[in-house]
């Protein structure tokens, strides 16, 4: 088969089984758009800003586990995509970005809409390519998908000069059936001896603690993790990125850990004697100051990326490998072992943890007239039976979503953790809804974040993606305002949003349904109303308590057991 470069790109996507490509046209990609026009296998989703394309592809990837695919033009198209690429990179999300480039003959001449996107994205991609030969196009695309989806996943950008896609130049096409790169062998199986040592240490623990993260979701290891945790009866916490990898409603789950984690999760981390970390990267949002992190613990760490191990925290038993395979091997060893967990020590440990739990560190005023944001999330969780897909933006609302929507399944919670990108939630919800058209998809957002990609309401309309937007509108950049309240003497420098749009009218102007809610008693009814409108996008504008803060909080420079609790929660009296 002889094809032009533009046709090759499209045919590669078809051969890769790509369903959707999220993009925005421009001069450098016109040939590719023409090739897209002539087929109907790959559906193009026209966003309204290239950042939206990357976040939508990202939401598609996080919810489905398949790589997200993006197409942007050279120069501003490509630079607009950078935030979304960096977002995917920080959270290890598989994505392939095709960017148009100026023709090879003029690269380097400051040509119209030229940007060195390979150079610009180098630090925020897993890998990138500038293709210089049309006969190498198919092999490069194959490599891009292979790199994006294997080992520690991540975004891969392929920059394609316009002349390579010229419809008049046809070359033989064959999509490679396999790839092998001498310089890239993602480790898969863990070291048997290390795994055995880890099992011995786990079985000997008196105060064990499981700490697991996004790697369990990425590595599809939820079932193995759940079985192992239940088999041993040990307590487990998840990072923000790991929520749902272990059922959030299970009694062994002690909630999220870290800066806004529960009291019991952080205390159990502090006091444990064996820490079992899997697919988590000891981010500074969970360690607090490193010197006081898990002072009594021996640490086991499973990660597919060797550079995650002993990066921030020294590890006693490192295991490099696919978490799914390693956990399965551990299960096998434990089942075959004649040793058992120390039941007496474990009972003592659970007693301690339950005492911490008794503090109810996520408590809030459920009877207030004003709408407490936590209440909205809790009601949403109840109404959807914990089974919706929830995307989020960045800020207080994100933390409340993480704390109060108890995810029982992986890939249901879709948020930007590593980069913390405001503007992520709405396009990510569109991508998620495209991946699962029959599912309920909610975007929990804030009035500041939603405005960063608000233009994607048009995309939601064009493709009839009936998503539900839960805007926790507190009138402030709440998360920043909270820091200013705690650390800057309540000097709210530039965090009040004076001129907010009327979100109801805004939603309506895009052809959606808008509802404003001011009273607690109307919260549930509004949620139900949105829920009923399956095919419509509904914008719920909840006007919530502007003074509410996220608790607990580990403030900057504090250790992970040194938490600031909600006013009125007193550790000494309540735990006495």
């Amino acid at each position: 088969m002889e094809l032009s470069g533009g046709e090759i790109l499209v045919q590669c996507l078809i051969d890769e089984g790509v369903e959707y490509i999220f993009g925005y046209p421009g001069g450098a990609v016109l040939h590719i758009y023409d090739a897209l026009f002539k087929q109907d296998k790959v559906k193009h989703i026209l966003v309204r800003h290239e950042q939206g394309a990357t976040h939508a592809a990202d939401g598609y990837a996080r919810s489905s586990g398949k790589p997200g695919v993006v197409l942007v033009t050279s120069g501003p198209g490509a630079t607009n995509a950078v935030t979304g690429i960096a977002t995917a990179h920080m959270d290890s999300i598989p994505m392939v970005i095709l960017s148009g480039q100026v023709p090879m003959a003029v690269i380097g001449s400051d040509a119209f809409q030229e940007a060195d996107i390979v150079g610009i994205t180098r630090p925020c991609v897993k890998h990138n390519f500038l293709v210089k030969d049309v006969t190498k196009l198919a092999a490069t695309i194959k490599q891009a998908f292979y790199l994006a989806t294997t080992g520690r996943p991540g975004p891969v950008l392929v920059d394609v000069p316009k002349n390579l896609t010229d419809p008049r130049v046809k070359v033989p096409y064959e999509y490679p059936s396999s790839v092998s790169l001498r310089s890239y062998n993602p480790h898969v199986k863990g070291h048997r001896w290390q795994i055995k040592k880890a099992v011995d240490l786990l079985l000997a623990a008196k105060r064990p603690m499981f700490y697991t993260g996004g790697g369990i979701v990425l590595g599809e290891a939820s079932a193995e993790l759940t079985e192992l945790t239940r088999l041993l009866g040990y307590p487990i916490t998840n990072t923000l990125m790991g929520l749902g990898a272990y059922p959030g409603t299970d009694k062994q789950f002690v909630g999220m850990l870290g800066m806004h984690g529960t009291y019991e999760a952080n205390m159990a981390m502090h006091e444990c004697d064996v820490l079992f970390a899997a697919g988590a990267r000891f981010d500074d949002r969970i360690t607090g100051i490193i010197a006081e992190f898990c002072p009594y613990a021996k640490v086991i760490h499973i990660d597919v990326d060797p550079s995650s191990i002993s990066k921030n925290v020294r590890v006693d038993i490192p295991i490099v490998g696919e978490v799914k395979l390693v956990l399965a091997e551990m299960l096998e060893l434990i089942k075959a072992s004649d040793k058992q967990p120390d039941a007496e020590a474990l009972a003592e440990w659970w007693k301690q943890i339950d005492t911490w739990r008794g503090l109810d560190s996520l408590g809030f005023d459920r009877n207030a007239d004003v709408i407490k944001p936590q209440y909205v999330v809790e009601q949403l969780w109840e109404m959807t039976h914990g089974d919706a897909y929830v995307t989020s933006d960045v800020g207080q609302h994100q933390m409340w979503a993480a704390q109060f929507y108890k995810f029982d399944k992986p890939r249901r919670w879709i948020n930007s953790g590593g980069l913390g990108t405001m503007g992520f939630g709405l396009p990510a919800a569109i991508g998620t809804k495209l991946a699962f058209p029959d599912a309920d998809v909610f975007c929990i957002t804030g009035e500041a974040s939603i405005q960063m990609c608000i233009q994607e309401l048009a995309t939601a309309r064009q493709y009839r993606t009936g998503i539900k937007i839960v805007n926790l509108n507190n009138g402030y950049m709440g998360m920043v305002r909270q820091w200013q309240e705690f650390s800057y003497g309540s000097r709210y420098s530039q965090t009040y949003l004076e001129t907010l749009p009327d979100f109801v009218k805004l939603a309506e102007s895009y052809g959606h349904v808008g509802i404003r809610i001011d009273k607690r008693s109307d919260v549930r009814a509004a949620l139900e109303e949105a829920y009923r409108q399956k095919d419509r996008t509904v914008f719920l504008d909840f006007h919530t308590d502007p003074t509410e803060n996220v608790y607990p909080m580990i403030e900057a420079g504090k250790a992970h057991h040194d938490m600031r609790l909600a006013p009125g929660v007193n550790i000494d009296t309540e735990l006495a």
Binding site: V118, G119, R122, P123, H127, S183, D305, P306, S307, R314
Partner: protein, 163 residues
Amino acid sequence: MSHIISILIENESGALSRVSGLFSARGYNIESLTVAATQDPTLSRMTLVTSGSDEIIEQITKQLNKLIDVVKLIDISEFTHIERELMMVKTRATNGGREEIKRLAEIFRGNILDVTPTTYIIEITGEKSKLDAFLHTVGEENIIEVVRSGTTGILRGERGLSV
């Protein structure tokens, strides 16, 4: 302590900037970096001298290995090895100093590559410390210009770095 990391890397455009970019992005030191083709035209060999605590060196080698273009690397300073750097020094060579500089060059087994009535260019090869010592001995006031290649190195014995 300085570490000498030898790297075999795909001979692709941009490969060098992936390495140097990694160092600047993560705040690692680079004392020197040399790169040249190998007998296999698809590979380049890079020698990178860096320093840091054991933890940092461990991260550096892991992060380098993570680069898709890096095929293989080894911290040769952990094994018996030979390291060499090439230096060319342009010195003042006038009157009484002329003989003295020539004598020093001989002691350091240097070659005089260029002679003018007032200058010499001296080539010296050796470990970094030897080159430093030569410069020290010649004295700042006699030095017009110094060009150093940066350190390269190779393992002793049978063992080598190859694909």
